[in-house]
């Protein structure tokens, strides 16, 4: 929540005599009934939103065979669920997921950078139409075009090339994403023209202009595109499902449904899968929180 916090801190730093005006509800520090209430409500909220994650962590290391109950701490602490999950190929699914999210993210951002550079730093005929086309891709998520997309994956543009069962079947359809193109174009438009003109005087060509002048200035928006792109690709469910040839091609999130059918070892195996699927999201979230909040909040302030 850093950017919001920065603003809040800046406000607190200003000579503000009356804390009643620091928040919409007028929370004030110190021991008072309102703060006891606030503390209690925060505790309830924390329980509701964070408890399921504690249950996943505990269940992933619990060898109890009851397939329905979850506990705050493991009843029978053990690595058995982990071993069983590995023997069921959970690492393979995890690898599929990582390949797809890595490849997808690189191509998605590369495409967005190239497109945004053309749209933001050049003027050409048909520019508005091209922008509209890319915005329209946001109206065509995988769900809406799932049926024909499944056919296209099996036979790309009538060439007989099939991407089914390969990571490309998921990577290429997520490569063009209107959202990242939109935020990046808006950002690149803000870069002052003088910087570009100075570089052109020095004889800098188009590729070097993009790579060594524009791109280094785009770090904030690259962060936003990275975390949103990661979440978008990691969240894919229908696409890896229809792009798979055999269940071996499933990503981890899709494969969770395979792990849950094993009744012998309880929910532990499924929860190991869930925990593995959570880890990359957690790492990305905790390291790039600032970009995430910036991306979400930018929509709110612009209206």
């Amino acid at each position: 929540m850093s950017t919001v916090d920065d603003k809040l801190l800046a406000r607190a730093g200003r000579r503000q005599t009356d804390s009643r005006f620091d928040s919409a509800l007028g929370w004030q520090p110190g021991f008072r009934a309102s703060n006891a209430l606030r503390f209690g409500l925060c505790a309830i909220v924390l329980t509701i939103f964070a408890l399921p994650f504690v249950l996943v962590l505990s269940g992933a290391f619990d060898a109890q065979t009851d397939s329905t109950s979850l506990r705050l701490t493991p009843a029978v602490p053990s690595l058995l669920p982990l071993e069983t999950a590995i023997s069921q190929g959970v690492l393979g699914y995890f690898a599929n997921s990582l390949v797809i999210v890595g490849g997808g993210l690189v191509i998605q951002i590369a495409v967005a950078v190239l497109v945004s550079y053309a749209l933001a730093r050049h003027r050409f005929r048909g520019q508005a139409f091209v922008m509209l086309l890319f915005l329209m891709t946001m109206m065509l998520p995988e769900e809406i075009i799932a049926i024909p997309l499944s056919q296209v994956i099996g036979n790309v543009a009538g060439t007989g090339i099939s991407l089914r069962g390969t990571p490309w079947g998921v990577i290429l359809p997520v490569a063009v994403w209107g959202f990242s193109i939109l935020v990046m174009t808006e950002f690149m438009k803000e870069i002052p023209l003088e910087i570009e003109e100075a570089a052109r005087l020095d004889g800098v060509g188009e590729l070097r202009m993009l790579w060594s002048i524009i791109l280094p200035l785009c770090k904030p928006v690259l962060g936003v595109a990275t975390i949103f792109g990661f979440m978008m690709i990691w969240d894919q469910y229908l696409l890896p499902l229809i792009a798979a040839d055999t269940p071996d091609d499933y990503t981890l999130t899709v494969a969770l449904s395979l792990l849950r059918t094993d009744a012998r070892v309880g929910t532990g195996v499924l929860l190991v899968g869930a925990l593995l699927a959570l880890l990359p999201s957690l790492i990305i979230y905790l390291t790039m929180q600032r970009s995430l909040i910036r991306g979400i909040a930018s929509g709110a302030t612009k209206g």
Binding site: I144, R260, G303
Partner: protein, 315 residues
């Protein structure tokens, strides 16, 4: 050619360096027009192959009885008539709309309350906000799998044990056709509320504190402050939340597919799960395509409506 020769960024600096002069101003202008397209090629190509191509193919299939080896048979609007005349599609439409309205409103209200509760600068609040935001970064399928276990409909299920501690009777949750849709909605709200919280929090932080002080001088109560200062200031944030949610809600698939698979007894079937089972399980590609096209049209309409409403508010 004069219109072409005034590209952005060079107008004030012409003539260009000697290197470019020999090829002439005309060639330079043509090149300025060509260069952007080179950068656009990968994006446009991929968009054609994997977005617009499938969209057009879907529209085409929606008018045919699709038979892979026998050749397609023209049906006109026959597939659309099948969709509209299918009681299961009508049920799915009803469930989708109930789910969309309930989840959107619930997540908006809860997100707003969370933002009001946790607005502040202290480190502890930041920690709570960070934890509360976890559901948003978690993949939907993971959220749904975990809640499916928590809401297990036996006495030993976690949610039922929690109810037992509170002295409440055990519930069937997702297994009871009369309550399953409600619980899908609850999980949806749980996932979406923190996202709205951040949008609304950004709106709250943007309110000028002078307004609060001035209002306090006038002897305003907290309730009046919320009604006359905070709520109007949050209008842009709220319209963003509603626009995003309305568009996403119609195509809801993963949550329902993982939580209930559309069951029990079709009580949670939504538009996309019905389309999916027709297209991939029953292999009825024509009818499934028609349903997808209808969903696309509904989404487009909703987007346009939401955009115009937002614009009107700004003006």
């Amino acid at each position: 050619m004069t219109t072409l020769s005034a590209p952005r960024g060079t107008s004030t600096l012409e003539p260009p360096r000697a290197v470019e002069v020999p090829s002439g101003g005309r060639w330079y202008a043509v090149r300025r027009q060509l260069v952007p397209w080179l950068f656009l090629i990968p994006g446009l190509g991929l968009a054609m192959l994997f977005k617009f191509g499938p969209m057009l193919e879907g529209v085409r299939m929606s008018f045919y009885k699709v038979q892979p080896f026998l050749g397609d048979e023209w049906l006109g609007l026959g597939n659309y008539a099948t969709v509209v005349g299918d009681p299961r599609f009508i049920d799915a439409l009803r469930h989708t709309l109930i789910l969309a309205a309930g989840t959107t409103l619930g997540a908006l209200v809860l997100g707003g309350l969370l933002a009001l509760l946790m607005e502040g600068t202290s480190r502890r609040l930041w920690v709570v906000r960070t934890a509360v935001f976890l559901p948003v970064v978690t993949a939907v399928a993971v959220v749904a799998e975990v809640w499916r276990i928590i809401l297990f409909p036996t006495e030993t299920g976690f949610a039922n044990q929690a109810l037992g501690v509170l002295g409440l009777p055990a519930q069937q949750f997702l297994s009871d056709p009369s309550s399953a849709l409600l619980w899908v909605m609850v999980v949806g709200i749980w996932t979406a509320a923190p996202y709205n919280m951040v949008i609304i929090l950004a709106g709250l932080v943007g309110i000028d504190r002078v307004l609060y002080e001035a209002a306090a001088v006038d002897g305003i109560t907290t309730r009046q402050r919320l009604r006359y200062i905070v709520l109007p200031a949050l209008r842009p944030a709220i319209s963003v939340v509603l626009t995003l949610a309305a568009i996403r809600a119609l195509r809801i698939f993963t949550e329902v597919y993982v939580l209930t698979g559309g069951g029990p007894a079709g009580s949670t079937e939504v538009w996309m799960t019905r389309t999916f089972s027709l297209g991939f399980d029953a292999n009825n590609l024509g009818v499934a395509s028609a349903a997808s096209v209808l969903l696309l049209i509904a989404t487009l309409l909703l987007t346009v409506v939401a955009r115009t409403l937002t614009r009107r508010k700004e003006a």
